[in-house]
Symmetry: C2
Subunit: 305 residues, 2 copies
């Protein structure tokens, strides 16, 4: 492994290979990575972090690829992190491969990185955040983080991204509707993709209705609901506008503070766990929990006391 | 709010209303709940915790209901926690309502509880664990925890449950396949439900093939792949056998220790975060992260130092 600071310098200077190797070091939580964080962070250029999520089959990858093409036309250098649902054991790279196939592979101003969703550094959120920071330092902006899921991972991506785009497709079903309801809270932009299919207009109307009745929330402008057809290229320009337009909203002090609060809590939990796990009484405490002598919550309080 | 210790005594004595009120207090992280944990835990009777998860539309709720009926025939008192994907704002109770509708509502020996998946006490895992402990104290065994998801929440449930059942249905698609691959790691029992539909046998064969090629894992017997038709009642008895049979495996010391390790890490992260958030310099630190003066990981290390 080359010197990490050297890799960072290379990445900042525009060497794709240095950036790629730096990202591998981050994913592996390589020795020295944590010490590099302050300088990695200081090298950041303030790229717009855009999360794109939605259920399997909603056409996220095609949409991300179409968006990348649109941003390239606008002279932007685009970073894409495709968080794959595959496990570390079955290291598929389904979403990233799909995006690569979409004709960006020859373009040095589009950088695509695939990550398995269960990585090091305490899981998705932490590692993805650092990966995005490295791509930011290399001068890509916006940086799109694409993930699949139906629940938990949307909340994770919303904690990380400045602008969260939730992609839906025409569909029905109680559970699906309930999941959608949960997503409305984290979405800054809603997209009904595959808008050439029957039911798309109805789905968009339904989403707008759900948004207008989702009362009780803090005063917040309801997110726009856009229709796209990624394969046909329809609605892509409007979507890029909506995302770009949300950047300044996302950077209002209250929003930035809420995001920072979530990131800090997450990082704290991970740091505390790492520390406790290296304590001399860790094994005995695990044993006590395993044999039901003590409950985990009370045990955790004692480890911290 | 009645005295919590009083509610616990009532729950242990078999009063459903006391149990229900105790669960509400747990979900709301009511004052005094944390102090109650040691006695709540001590009142536990060692119920078998069974997690059942799978994608929307796989028929989990019907399957859980059929399993409950099977266990009742075997003289067991069944607890069911249905973790709904709905948000706190849109408090649906879709899965729990479905199970209730399945004719267990008149049976005092089936206890069904719905929870929104984004509760208090640091989210799904912590609150669900405590809820299950309370139902255990009330004498239900097994306790089924049903959740929906495609990724993160399966990992959560596997951390909590002693036996994790993953429900699949005949289907295709790259992303779906990749999600399945991730699930194979957490499943103790795999079920292809809706086995009366075309493609069920093929899906079962596919899953078995994926299991046999998922090399690199620690030596572990591959989980059984069962076919069920919850609506037709087929395969339910065999599934109940498989789950019951896994109980002793789940309680081997290594397995219990691994589960305790995960629970303790989770609880530690939450406890540390709660403590840090009450510190005098918390607001200033959040501000520093929000304005990009410091990265969250380094900031967390400093808060802990």
């Amino acid at each position: 492994m080359a010197d990490l600071a050297e890799l960072l310098r290379g990445a900042v200077a525009g060497e794709r290979r240095s950036l790629a190797r730096l990202l591998t070091a981050i994913e592996n939580d390589a020795p020295g990575i944590r010490e590099l964080l302050p300088s990695l962070f200081a090298a950041g250029r303030g790229a717009h972090l855009v999360g794109i999520t939605g259920p399997p089959g909603s056409g996220k990858s095609t949409l991300v690829s179409a968006l990348a093409a649109e941003w390239r036309r606008r002279g932007r250098r685009v970073g894409i992190v495709a968080v794959d649902p595959s496990s570390p054991h079955t290291r598929g790279a389904i979403m990233g491969d799909r995006i690569r196939m979409m004709d960006h592979s020859a373009d040095p101003d589009v950088f695509v990185r695939s990550m398995a969703s269960r990585g090091q550094m305490g899981g998705l959120a932490a590692a993805t955040w650092v990966v995005a920071a490295a791509i930011d330092a290399a001068g890509y902006d916006p940086i799109v983080i694409e993930t699949v899921g139906a629940g938990q991972s949307e909340v994770e991506i919303a904690r990380l991204a400045e602008t969260t785009v939730v992609v839906e497709m025409p569909e029905a079903g109680d559970e699906v509707q309930a999941i959608k309801a949960g997503l409305l809270e984290v979405a800054d932009v809603l997209v009904v993709n595959k808008a050439d299919r029957p039911g798309a207009d109805r789905a968009a109307r339904q989403l707008r209705a759900m948004l207008s009745t989702a009362g009780g929330r803090v005063a917040r402008k309801p997110p726009p609901v856009l229709l796209t057809s990624a394969t046909g290229g329809e609605g892509i320009s409007a979507l890029a506008e909506a995302i770009d337009g949300h950047r300044s909203v996302a950077r209002l002090p209250d929003q930035a503070r809420a995001r920072a609060d979530g990131q800090l809590r997450r990082a704290l939990g991970e740091a505390a766990t790492r520390r406790a796990a290296s304590r001399a009484d860790w094994t005995a405490t695990v044993e006590a929990v395993a044999t039901h002598e003590i409950d985990p919550i009370t045990a955790a309080e004692r480890l911290l006391a």
